[in-house]
Amino acid sequence: MKIVKKAQAGTMQSSDLMVFLEPAETLTVTIESTVVKQFGALIRAKVDEVLEKHGIESGEVRITDRGALDYAIEARLETAIMRATEG
């Protein structure tokens, strides 16, 4: 799927995350997290996995996380992808 418009999902509350997606020529992923030192690599791996699952090859992906569990990351990112790709 292709990111064709801006979309956002999630909240800023503890144990949750905000996902921002925007169309772009190339794929860039930036992750900010209050637990980036401990879990940055795991968050990144989960994000890459979900992007790949949906065939997202370009777009700007920004994530600000407050210690969300991996299935929350997956759910929020998928929600944002649905919003960013729907006609």
Binding site: K6, T11, M12, Q13, F20, E22, S33, T34, R66
Partner: protein, 333 residues
Amino acid sequence: MVTSLLSTDDLGQARALVEASGLRFEAPYDDLVGVFEAGRLVAVGARQGRVLKMLAVAPAHQGGTLLDEVVTELVGRGYQDGVDSFFVFTSPALVPGFEALNFNLLVASGTTALLEYGDGLRRYLSRYAKQIRAGNNGAIVANCNPFTLGHRYLIEQAAAAVDQLFLFVVREERSLFPFGARLRMVQEGTADLGNVVVLDTSWYAVSSITFPTYFLKGGDPGGAIQMELDLLLFARRIAPHFHVKTRFVGSEPWCGTTAAYNEAMHRILPPLDVAVQEIERKSAMDRPISASRVRDMLLNGELEGIAELVPVSTLDFLLSSEGIKIWVKGESK
């Protein structure tokens, strides 16, 4: 649940809560939202452009998630409105609360802290990583509305005194000439100067965030604090990244706001290891050259004298169909 505050009763409660928290209720805003509990407003917040303001939570309800909910709503709505970075001014004591929400502290003075949601400053600085060489570098921040021989003179003087000169063109769209046009005039007018690098200020210098009164006529008393934040941000975060040791500025004989800004520069920058060098303005026809003088002449249709005040590259632009459209539109205002 976070809802828009629209009715007269909503606004009355919002004003009371904001003022009870020691803040000022400041219109205008793009969004004003809050959370009610049993008919009473217990949390409030507003967004104006990129700035979140009037964030307050009733004392009995602090420590929960209300602030998070309000900020989430404001950021979500702002993002849908096309805003991609957000700032908040708050008291230094409240900085940790915002840092927990993934806000990053940009700069703090005694009474005010400026935070940004996300890592925009870091991304902005890393954009220019390739163009930076260590050395005795200098910087100029200028609006160039439009680019004049006065700017050119200041840049020549500064460039001759440093290894690399970073010329920050004000990004903000509050001027007669749009940013793209100003940037092009600067690039064309300095193309022959090998050690001058032209870049944009983004939101981090002389912007509606760091220095809103620059764009208002007459200034306002609150502007002094923000002027200070603008300069602290420059000295602490921007100058070190570019190895800037000196900030160059033209003397300001007329505009009160700019003169006050220059004065604040002399006071704030040197203690933070950024020297300030004020260069006497170049004159033409016995009067200092300034962009406002050029604009006045354009708007009054005095086109003959302008060639004395601007380089050929600027003149070409001003007289191009694109340039004429801009100032003819200004004339009708």
